[in-house]
């Protein structure tokens, strides 16, 4: 391994001078081989070769020394497309940092994500060190005290700012005071910590934009003897062993990446030697390695199961394989151990065309950007071609066969989601419904016939508390039918909903093929006689049939109920939102202002100011909901 490492470093040094485009995959390989402080130094030195990264800022609030983790986080994040500025809060001042509204995280530094990293031994020393000297009542008090502290800090964070917060859970001690009798004791030590962690988890769950990092899972991953650094804890209050650091960093990234919106919406898979061992064109259906009885086949079986897990999280699957289409259909249908089936894939490109062309075609068919696509392939030449021609695609090179317990997809940060909405869970089914809709479209006589046959119903209402994650997700991900492209966190959406003279809309649509769910939103504010549209967007799934008109009609009605005479909104053009450019004009708005950056439109509020097309069934619901 030392030779391989040395060789990689030399290649990287060469590449950064001669061929920067090949630096990234080499750095990824280095990180895969030996993640840690020393590789981090290397990766950070070659930061410039990684191309365009998204800038985000992090602050770590802590009860212990975390500085050695910072360069490791920075390096690992850069390999996932993030350029992180990482600040560290004062040693042990984490409570003040969170409780004080004038503290830096709310005023000057204002990070996108804060991490609250405190140790059980620091925040609950009595439960950690002195458990055997406590009686039941003392334990109850201690648990309540610490749970209360976390609650206060989390509530304060939400009240004073809009960012996301990652909270470390507390380590359950390895050496329990009562030993094996702890479990059956009336008030055991492990039980006390489990209860404390459950209460911390409750505070996390009931607060939007706050996420739990399970420290005990990290310790389990590294193995307890490999976690705590006794010597550095004693001398410098730095408790984590060097080898354990990249595993903790990985756990941080699996939250930071989805929270900052760096997600992949679709995974395109190669087939031969990626989903099974061997090549169907040569080995035939019977000859490929896939099944529980041998290590190679069992590893591919596990990877296929991971694919279905990803699909259940709302990630769309597609195939891009150099094979005959019929052979692919046959093997997916016939192989006795095949876990994935044709119906699990929303797009299939099995042909002899170059993969970059197929990936572009898949992106078009799924109606998503290339930067939302991840691609996995075992073939280095295919991976290289995609990297060079489609630099926005996330390329996952399968450098060695998957094993039953590990594959590069299972914990990949781009496939993580911090909360799954109903829409996520049923997304793949929705794509199937979409395919059926498209079939109807091609068989309809006229557009109007088609739209009538679709039978679209639109329900617009002020949002409820449960709608917040989905609405925030829509503002983060919708690019095409989006008038102003304002991106909002869950916390911001919640606070808009609570404003007295504002409304956040939840727009739901369904048609004859199925329910689309919550597919649009608008944010409107009323002041004196003018209502202003801050945001109006629609998922690309329902563009082109007038749903947006129903939304405008609802807004006009809302504004009129508040005594507004005017409805005003901006259109901010971007590279992607041409589909929304004509919305105001085609609904009777007048352009009152124009600059190079935006145009402002105005409509006089009145009954029937907006005409909703006859093929949409819609209703005005005006429940004033306290969110």
């Amino acid at each position: 391994m030392a030779d391989e490492l040395q060789s990689l470093r030399e290649q990287i040094a060469d590449a950064s001078n001669t061929d920067p485009a090949s630096t990234r995959p080499l750095l990824e390989q280095l990180w895969q081989l030996r993640p840690g402080a020393s590789s981090a130094s290397f990766v950070n030195q070659h930061h410039a070769a990684l191309g365009d990264l998204t800038k985000k800022s992090i602050t770590v609030l802590r009860s212990f020394t975390v500085e050695p983790l910072v360069p490791i986080l920075r390096a690992a994040a850069s390999l996932h497309g993030l350029d992180l500025t990482i600040d560290v809060g004062g040693f042990g001042t984490y409570a003040q940092d969170l409780l004080d509204p004038s503290s830096a995280i709310y005023t000057t530094s204002r990070p996108d994500v804060a991490i609250l990293a405190v140790q059980a031994r620091d925040v609950a020393p009595d439960l950690w060190d002195s458990f055997s000297r406590l009686d039941s009542a003392d334990v109850d008090l201690a648990v309540a005290r610490v749970a209360g502290e976390f609650s206060s800090m989390i509530d304060a964070f939400r009240r004073h700012g809009d960012a996301d917060l990652i909270v470390h859970s507390l380590e359950v001690p390895g050496n329990l005071a009562l030993g094996v009798a702890d479990r059956s004791a009336e008030r055991g030590q492990a039980q006390a910590f489990d209860e404390l962690n459950a209460r911390i988890a409750d505070a996390v769950d009931r607060t939007s934009g706050v996420h739990l990092l399970d420290v005990n899972q990290v310790i389990s991953d590294v193995g307890r003897p490999n976690w705590h650094d006794d010597r550095k804890w004693t001398s410098m209050r730095m408790p984590i062993r060097a080898d354990a650091m990249p595993i903790l960093v990985d756990a941080w990234l699996r939250l930071i990446v989805p929270v900052t919106g760096q997600v992949s919406k679709a995974l395109v898979v190669d087939l031969d030697n990626t989903l099974w061992g061997g090549v169907i064109g040569e080995d035939g259906v019977e000859g490929i390695d896939l099944g529980p009885d041998a290590p190679i086949g069992a590893g591919f079986l596990a990877l296929q199961r991971t694919l279905l897990d990803l699909r259940a999280r709302g990630i769309i699957l597609a195939i891009c394989s150099k094979n005959n289409h019929d052979d692919v259909v046959e093997v997916l249908d016939q192989h006795p151990h095949m876990v994935v089936k044709l119906e699990h894939f929303s797009a299939v490109r099995a042909n002899w065309e170059p993969k970059p062309d197929n990936l572009r075609s898949i992106a078009d068919e799924l109606n998503i950007g290339l930067d939302s696509i991840a691609f996995i392939d075992d073939n280095p030449a295919e991976c290289d071609q995609v990297r060079r021609l489609l630099s926005d695609v996330t390329v996952i090179e399968l450098r060695s066969p998957p094993t039953p317990s590990q594959n590069p997809l299972a914990r990949h940060p781009r496939f993580e989601r911090t909360a799954l909405t109903g829409e996520d869970r049923s997304r793949a089914d929705m794509y199937e419904q979409q395919r059926q809709r498209r079939q109807l479209e091609t068989s309809s006589v006229s557009l109007e016939d088609h739209l009538n046959a679709l039978g679209t119903t639109v329900t617009t209402d002020a949002m409820g508390h449960d709608d917040v994650p989905r609405i925030s997700q829509l503002t983060q991900k919708t690019n095409q039918f989006n008038l102003t492209t304002n991106r909002y966190t869950e916390s911001q959406i919640e606070s808009f909903g609570a404003e007295a003279n504002a409304t956040v809309l939840a727009v739901r649509a369904a048609d004859r093929f199925g329910d689309h769910g919550l597919i649009g939103t608008a944010i409107v504010r009323a002041s004196a006689s003018t209502a202003t549209i801050d945001t109006l967007l629609l998922s690309c799934r329902v563009i082109g049939r007038g749903v947006e008109t129903a939304i405008l009609a609802w807004i006009v009605d809302w504004a009129a109920a508040r005594g507004c005479t005017d409805l005003v909104g901006d259109f901010v053009p971007t590279a992607r939102n041409k589909p929304a450019a004509g919305l105001y004009e085609s609904n009777g708005f007048e352009r009152v202002h124009e600059s190079s950056e935006s145009s402002t439109w105005r409509l006089e509020v009145g009954p029937e100011a907006i005409v909703v097309p006859s093929w949409i069934s819609w209703s005005l619901e005006h429940e004033e909901q306290d969110t």
């Binding site: 402080a37 020393s38 130094s41 950070n44 030195q45 500085e67 050695p68 550095k232 730095m238 060097a242």
Partner: protein
């Protein structure tokens, strides 16, 4: 063998202290390098433990004043 260790130590130090490789010599001390404080030293120790798969006793760190000293300590740990 020891020049290889000295070289790798120097390379890591340059990365950790965020200076150019040429600014690091065996004679370099914390007086020469502005960003070399106790936290930066801790970061270097962690990087060295990772690079050489060794454990460095914090007690030994207090004895180190130059990069050459650091490389010497690493060599002793590596060679057992």
């Amino acid at each position: 063998m020891n020049t290889d260790i000295a070289d790798r130590v120097g390379g890591l130090a340059a990365g950790v202290f965020d200076v150019s490789r040429d600014d690091i010599t065996p004679a370099s001390t914390s007086d020469d390098i502005e960003s070399w404080d106790s936290l930066a030293m801790l970061n270097l120790v962690v990087a060295l433990e990772d690079e050489f798969s060794i454990e460095i006793d914090p007690a030994d760190i207090d004895q180190l004043s130059s990069i050459g000293d650091v490389a010497g300590l690493v060599a002793r740990r590596v060679n057992g």
